[in-house]
């Protein structure tokens, strides 16, 4: 591709355009991800230092319209039932927009706690699916709300321990295969709870470093294809384990940059795709940008790898953990 730089301004207008295509069917078929998508877009803008490119008031109003008053959590869209993933997105968005007081903290806390099962796992909603992702959402929400004291830590950690595999990684449920995204949610949860002693850090660090392929990109499991989103899952885990330098930064930066839509052709699409030549989406845009930030790419804002939120914000909340990203380069 030969692309050497991040096309920040193109990506900013790409994110701005996403909210405008509301007469597309695709827009409606992704309603169940709407709040998540707003968080991804906003976070990508924060990393690229264009936080104000989306209208703050509109976003807050939309977030609050997703409140499910019956359940005490947020759905992904005004008509949708509460779910723990969009509930985390809502709280992240409101914190980033400096409007955390909008939410009913006691109700959210009791909603989150109600989703914990006797095994220590968390369900995503009352439908009951369990996944270590939901454990991360629960712990991150409680931490951001300053209510970690309401969590049964023993039970929570006990379940994560059961999801740990022989290769040092973690799966989404007990018995399931190690997967880089599940490694992130488990490692970040343990980091929030100050329990990284539960992890064999050298072994897991190696498993994560092994995810890098000859073209510089990262995969999520052995013998799978590279994908830009693993730039976040793998790098954030390695940052938390203070081993991000085990990755070859230059080749990964080139890989992420080559997956920029604007670079794939002369189209002014913008955004980052899963891999070079594919269509961009907001999910890969934020995780590509987040990966670049952790690799010290010039002129990006620092990202907190534990919470996937602006580093300064997490620091101001007094929640910063002891992670290490690569130093910011200068152009």
């Amino acid at each position: 591709m030969g692309s050497k730089e991040l096309a920040t301004l193109v990506h900013v207008s790409y994110i701005q355009s996403l909210g405008k295509a509301t007469d597309d069917l695709a827009y409606h078929l992704t309603a169940h991800l709407r709040l998540n998508a707003i968080y991804w877009g906003l976070m990508a803008l924060c990393v690229m230092k264009h936080k104000d490119a989306l209208d703050r008031g509109e976003m807050i109003e939309f977030v609050m319209s997703c409140w499910d008053d019956e359940a005490g959590g947020f759905g992904a869209h005004p008509d949708h039932d509460a779910h723990i993933v969009p509930t985390l997105s809502a709280i992240q968005i409101l914190h980033i927009l400096d409007a955390p007081d909008q939410v009913d903290v006691p109700r959210i806390v009791s909603y989150v706690i109600s989703l914990q099962n006797s095994s220590g796992s968390f369900s995503g909603d009352q439908f009951g699916e369990t996944d270590t992702r939901f454990t991360y959402c629960a712990v991150s929400i409680l931490s951001l709300l300053g209510k970690l004291d309401t969590l049964d830590e023993q039970k929570t950690i006990g379940y994560l321990r059961k999801c740990r595999n022989f290769d040092g990684g973690f799966g989404n449920t007990e018995g399931a295969e190690s997967h880089a995204a599940q490694v992130f949610v488990c490692v970040a949860t343990l980091a929030i709870l100050d329990r990284l002693d539960e992890v064999d850090q050298d072994m897991l660090g190696w498993w994560l470093a092994e995810r890098q392929l000859p073209n510089g990109g990262l995969n999520g499991r052995p013998e799978k294809l590279e994908d830009v989103c693993y730039s976040f899952w793998v790098l954030s885990s390695l940052s938390i384990l203070k081993r991000v330098h085990w990755i070859d930064a230059n080749s990964l930066i080139s890989f992420i940059l080559s997956a920029q839509e604007s670079m794939a052709s002369d189209l002014e699409g913008g955004g980052i795709a899963d891999r070079p030549g594919d269509t961009a989406d907001v999910f890969h845009t934020v995780f590509g940008a987040a990966g670049l930030s952790l690799l010290g790419y010039p002129d990006l804002d620092d990202l907190d790898p534990v919470y996937c939120m602006p580093s300064r914000l997490i620091e101001s909340l007094g929640l910063k953990k002891d992670w290490v990203a690569l130093g910011r380069r200068t152009l």
Partner: protein, 379 residues
């Protein structure tokens, strides 16, 4: 991430809006609340999806649980299988009206196959099986589903759940042959290697496998033959390590096996191995490209320690690391040769850092430093 199955909208011959169907006349459709993002332009998106979700909202508002809920939720799921609120309402309805769950499962056989990557289909299935308590046909269903997508994370996790949740000997009995079939289809399938570890080591001791030493030997022998076929297969090496670590077996038991995989091809070696390769190429004349080139279909001379084919890409970084680990363990256990063992380990790590796995140079430098820390301990 989310696959949009827009094409499913076109499967209906002629779409009759709910408002024109007599049995839906009693409901007033509810438009989607767009929150603050309400578009100024008139909504143009798929009428069918809009229509069905408008009527679904009316059903939910009414709190109705009935047969027609199954109809409309199936209609929406076929258009958008990730709509979790619709799945939830469907499940509540099934229970509320005491629907035939076996019929539901049959419907799901088809829907799961169509929307394999959507995790809701697997969770819905889990709920149904939890009620029906009939796990045995599931293993065959999953095996078929895996044929369409051999590494599907949710499908494998569902299989592990079935086995662990019901934990019946009859269920476990077929698992090893199943894994072997999956691995003979694709010996780089990490999901299958993981499943093997789950079945053999993480789910209790089964009849006939009480002798763990024999089991270790069986697993090592199995993995060796797979590594011989594709030496640069991280999944197989990870499995081998996992077995040794789980059973606290010394890495040194594998020294004879690992050594040829850790050696760079020298001109001498090549001529030595070419004879072996010739045997294989006559058997497998179509072998080509780097992946197939690693496949040694040839007769194995040392049955216990199958060697790589001449066309294998050597050395394998995993084999070099393995040898270095053997040296480190030996240094810790054996005072007299300890120093030379450590020096040898450091040399092996250095070869990885500078030549054979330069992408992970910093990791191998770390391993060199860790190895040199052993020196004072043995001095």
């Amino acid at each position: 991430m989310q696959r949009l199955l827009v094409e499913s909208l076109d499967t209906h011959q002629e779409y009759v809006p709910y408002g024109e169907r007599p049995e839906w006349q009693d409901l007033t459709p509810i438009q989607q609340d767009e929150g603050s993002l309400a578009p100024l332009a008139p909504i143009m998106y798929g009428d069918e999806y809009k229509d069905s979700t408008n009527y679904f909202r009316a059903i939910v508002q009414k709190g109705e649980y009935s047969e027609r809920v199954l109809e409309i939720t199936e209609h929406i799921i076929r258009q958008n299988p990730s709509h979790y609120s619709v799945w939830q309402y469907r499940y509540d309805t099934l229970l509320a009206i005491k629907a035939d769950l076996i019929a539901e499962l049959e419907l799901m056989d088809e829907i799961a196959t169509t929307f394999l990557k959507t995790y809701q289909v697997w969770h819905h299935r889990r709920l149904l099986i939890t009620h029906l308590r009939a796990p045995r046909p599931e293993l065959m269903f999953i095996a078929n589903a895996l044929q369409a997508d051999k590494k599907n994370y949710h499908t494998w996790a569902y299989r592990q759940w079935i086995l662990a949740e019901f934990n019946e000997d009859e269920l476990w009995d077929g698992e090893l042959p199943f894994v072997e079939q999956m691995l003979s289809d694709d010996l780089r399938n990490n999901s299958a290697w993981h499943h093997r570890f789950f079945v053999v080591w993480e789910s209790g001791v089964r009849a006939g496998e009480e002798d763990r030493e024999t089991l270790v030997k069986r697993e090592i022998a199995f993995t060796k033959t797979k590594i011989a076929r594709a030496p640069n297969n991280a999944s197989a090496w990870n499995y081998l390590r996992g077995v040794l670590e789980r059973t606290s077996s010394p890495f040194s038991v594998l020294e004879a096996f690992v050594t040829p995989y850790a050696q760079p091809p020298s001109p001498e070696d090549e001529s030595e191995w070419v004879s072996d390769d010739e045997a294989s190429s006559t058997k497998s004349p179509t072998a080509k490209s780097s992946d197939l080139a690693e496949t040694a279909d040839d007769a194995v001379l040392d049955l216990e320690n199958p060697i790589p084919s001449a066309r294998a890409e050597l050395p394998c970084p995993q084999a070099i690391e393995f040898l270095a680990d053997i040296r480190e363990q030996s240094a810790q256990n054996n005072g007299t040769t300890a120093r030379s063992d450590i020096d040898e380990a450091i040399k092996l790590y250095a070869s990885l850092a500078t030549k054979y796995d330069t992408m992970r140079e910093r990791y191998w430098e770390f391993r060199q430093r860790e190895a040199s820390k052993l020196i004072p301990a043995i001095a």
